[in-house]
């Protein structure tokens, strides 16, 4: 079986979407790329470390507001505001995570939820800084005038320019995260997920590893949020609300927690499905719920898991 560089292929394909000329396709592709990053960042916690977080959206929201406030109110350039989203989100993840990793399982999950709701409440009430429940509208696009000067890209719209930029940034983030989970550190996380007590016995400081994983996950969620705030032309308190956390949790499960790309696939499928179904019916929750139940019972590995076991079965037949 040849090792196909799927990652590179997907990125190349993604870069061609604006050439299709439809604003709508670019819109969907941008949404998928960013939410995919968000879901993959959560999987560092769930799939790799075995920590189920109900409050991951907090860092997403923090990232969105950080970039938004820096670019809109302090008119800082994107080059500073984007990494700032990651840094600020990582700081919050460090503080919240410190308390969370001392707990296990459900208590851990509930504390992550509590912190996320507190972040939401602050965004909702702090009218002066975050704009309150109206949100922070009209976050400016980064200055992409230099793109106009490039050969092919000059004819594209501003939203297309931003799309290309976000694809590149998201790709870099995926690469970085992949390096992390494939490294010895990443393997240690998997060991911790399998059996935390055994890890302790062999001398691993489980809590320290979990905290680092928490911070990494939070940082990349923050970066995703920073991009999303610009894409969405505004940041809203609901970016941190627990329903957003549940959305990304579902994406992760749907795509498959057992693989690196699974959650990104889940994001793609969920967003496209949501889009299509809501055009026909207002009973989208019913459809989503049913799909989830089917997945849980029939395809516990998610979509990627199902594809991989199908491929394995095909492979043995051809052997």
């Amino acid at each position: 079986m040849r090792r196909v560089p799927w990652g590179v292929l997907v990125v190349m394909a993604a870069l061609f979407v604006p050439a299709l000329g439809s604003r709508f396709y670019t819109f969907v592709a941008n949404d998928v790329a960013i939410m995919g990053l968000f879901a993959v960042s959560l999987n560092v916690l769930i799939g790799y470390t075995g920590l189920v977080s109900f409050g991951h959206a907090a860092y997403f929201g923090i990232g969105a507001y950080t970039t938004g406030i820096l670019m809109k109110k302090l008119t800082l350039p994107f080059v500073l505001a984007f990494p700032a989203a990651g840094v600020v989100a990582a700081l919050f993840a460090l503080v919240f995570g410190f308390f969370c990793v001392r707990l296990t399982k459900i208590y851990f999950a509930m504390l992550t939820l509590a912190f996320a709701q507190i972040v939401w409440a602050i965004c909702f009430k702090w009218n002066g800084v975050t704009g309150g429940e109206q949100g922070l509208p009209e976050i400016p696009y980064p200055d992409l005038a230099w793109m106009q000067k490039l050969p092919f890209f000059g004819e594209l719209r501003g939203s297309d320019h931003f799309y290309l930029l976000s694809v590149v940034l998201v790709a870099v983030c995926y690469w970085a995260l992949h390096r992390v989970v494939a490294s010895p550190f990443g393997r240690m996380l998997t060991t911790i997920r399998e059996n935390p007590e055994r890890a302790e016995f062999i001398g691993v400081n489980v809590q320290r590893y979990e905290l680092i994983a928490f911070v990494i996950a939070g940082m990349f969620a923050g970066l995703a949020g920073g991009l999303f705030g610009i894409f969405n032309r505004g940041a809203f308190p609901d970016f941190a609300y627990w329903t957003k956390s549940s959305e990304v949790l579902i994406m992760t499960l749907l795509g498959g927690m057992g693989s690196f790309w699974g959650p990104a696939v889940g994001a793609l499928v969920l967003l496209v499905l949501n889009q299509q179904i809501t055009s026909y019916t207002e009973y989208w929750p019913f459809v989503l719920g049913t799909v989830l139940i089917v997945i849980l019972f029939a395809f516990p590995g998610g979509i990627v898991g199902a594809l991989e076991s199908a491929r394995a079965r095909l492979g043995t037949r051809h052997a």
């Binding site: 819109f27 429940e133 949100g135 509208p137």
Partner: protein, 397 residues
């Protein structure tokens, strides 16, 4: 194997292609509104009112020879969802105009989307002043709803006439509640300086348990109250306040803003309604003094919604669409810039009378009905009697 992959890719692409192209292109109007959760009580009737107008006008041949088509989507009451569906409707469904949104958070959020995409946006329900404030105003946003300034001041005028000194307010703690209470307090201070605000309660939006707030307010012994809890929030509040003796303590001296005396509120509460309070409503099917056009319209509405006591919200959806259709006709075009210009100063004969959108801030002179609730043997629920339309012109700066 490759063929299978190709098939899957084709399928995926096919799913993304919007369905259906019609012969003579209809004028598509995106209608983002709340269709789920507590706000659906108002959102759904508003959408019905808009659809009723579209059906009527299409039966008469449409606008400029083209049929109108309404694309209704659920915003779930969240501004970020409202933004998402608005953008989808623009990008995917290629809507030419936007009419809709309900809450004071959704309205301004969608207004930004409209501004960026240069799409005319008419807001039929959000009341926050911020929608048309100088720093947020742009050529494409218009409002046919009332405003928090109009509502707060109208309520103050009513309470100013009462023989009371100690006044309190209770409002949901978000933009709408904050703005309308501010307008109320400022105006009351001006026209009734002898009255004193002795207590202000701020339950969070969507509060479940109002009893701590009710107790706290009763402890300050107010003689009159201005409430801006709306819809289901007001229902919950009243269900909990009545047994505690709240309304007896203030002798039913309350003005329930936020459409607290609307037919759906009194209907939903039935015998639990604190009859005797004042309240407002956008419309009332039992409005006896209304012009004949109103009575006829109500009959049409009752038939269309198959409800002998029709809701008070369809009129806002209907009016929003009326203004849009008239503006398109006046501009003789569906181009956003031309229609936006045609909206300025436009007057339309709506079922409640002539309403005009003023040039200064794209705001219509939309007042509301106010009245004291009484039990009427004709209906199984309380109604406002007498019910007066409070003209807002003198309240609009």
């Amino acid at each position: 194997m490759q063929r299978r992959i190709a098939l899957v890719v084709l399928l995926a692409a096919a799913l993304l292609v919007p369905l259906g192209a019609s012969a003579q292109k209809p004028i598509k109007v995106g209608f983002p509104i709340i269709l789920s959760g507590p706000g659906a009580l108002f959102g759904e009737p508003a959408a019905k009112g808009a659809q009723m107008f579209v059906d009527e006008i299409n039966a008469k041949g449409g606008v400029l020879g083209r049929k109108m088509e309404l694309v209704v989507r659920d915003t779930k009451g969240q501004p970020d969802e409202a933004v998402r569906v608005a953008r989808e409707m623009i990008l995917k469904d290629n809507v030419d105009f936007l009419v809709g949104t309900l809450t004071s958070a959704e309205g301004p959020a969608v207004s930004v989307v409209a501004k960026e995409n240069k799409i005319v946006f008419i807001a039929p329900i959000p009341k926050t002043d911020q929608l048309t404030a100088p720093d947020k105003l742009h050529p494409y946003v218009f409002r046919v709803a009332s405003t928090t300034t109009i509502e707060g001041r109208s309520a103050a005028e009513i309470i100013a006439k009462w023989p009371v000194k100690r006044v309190a307010t209770i409002a949901p703690d978000y933009a709408y509640g904050q703005d309308v209470t501010k307008s109320f307090v400022e105006h009351l201070k001006k026209i009734a300086p002898q009255m004193e605000i002795v207590d202000q309660q701020w339950p969070k939006l969507g509060e479940n348990d109002y009893t701590p707030f009710i107790n706290a307010q009763m402890a300050k012994k107010p003689e009159a109250v201005f409430s801006s809890l709306w819809g289901g929030h007001f229902l919950n509040f009243t269900k909990q306040a009545r047994p505690l003796g709240y309304f007896d303590a203030i002798k039913h001296n309350m003005v329930a803003g936020g459409e607290g005396a609307s037919p759906e509120s009194t209907k939903a509460m039935g015998a639990d309604y604190p009859v005797g309070i004042w309240g407002n409503s956008y419309d009332a099917f039992y409005w006896d003094d209304a012009a004949t056009t109103h009575k006829e319209w109500i009959q049409k509405l009752a038939k269309y919604t198959k409800d002998e006591y029709p809701s008070s919200w369809p009129i806002q959806g209907y009016m929003g669409m009326q203004f849009l259709a008239e503006a398109i006709k006046k501009a003789n075009s569906t181009e956003s810039d031309k229609v936006a210009r045609a909206m300025l100063g436009l007057s339309v004969d709506t079922p409640i009378g002539k309403i005009t959108i003023r040039e200064k801030d794209h705001q219509a002179n939309r007042g509301q009905l106010y009245g004291k609730t009484v039990k009427d043997p004709k209906y199984p629920f309380a109604i406002m009697k007498p019910v007066t339309y409070v003209d807002p012109t003198k309240f609009m700066d």
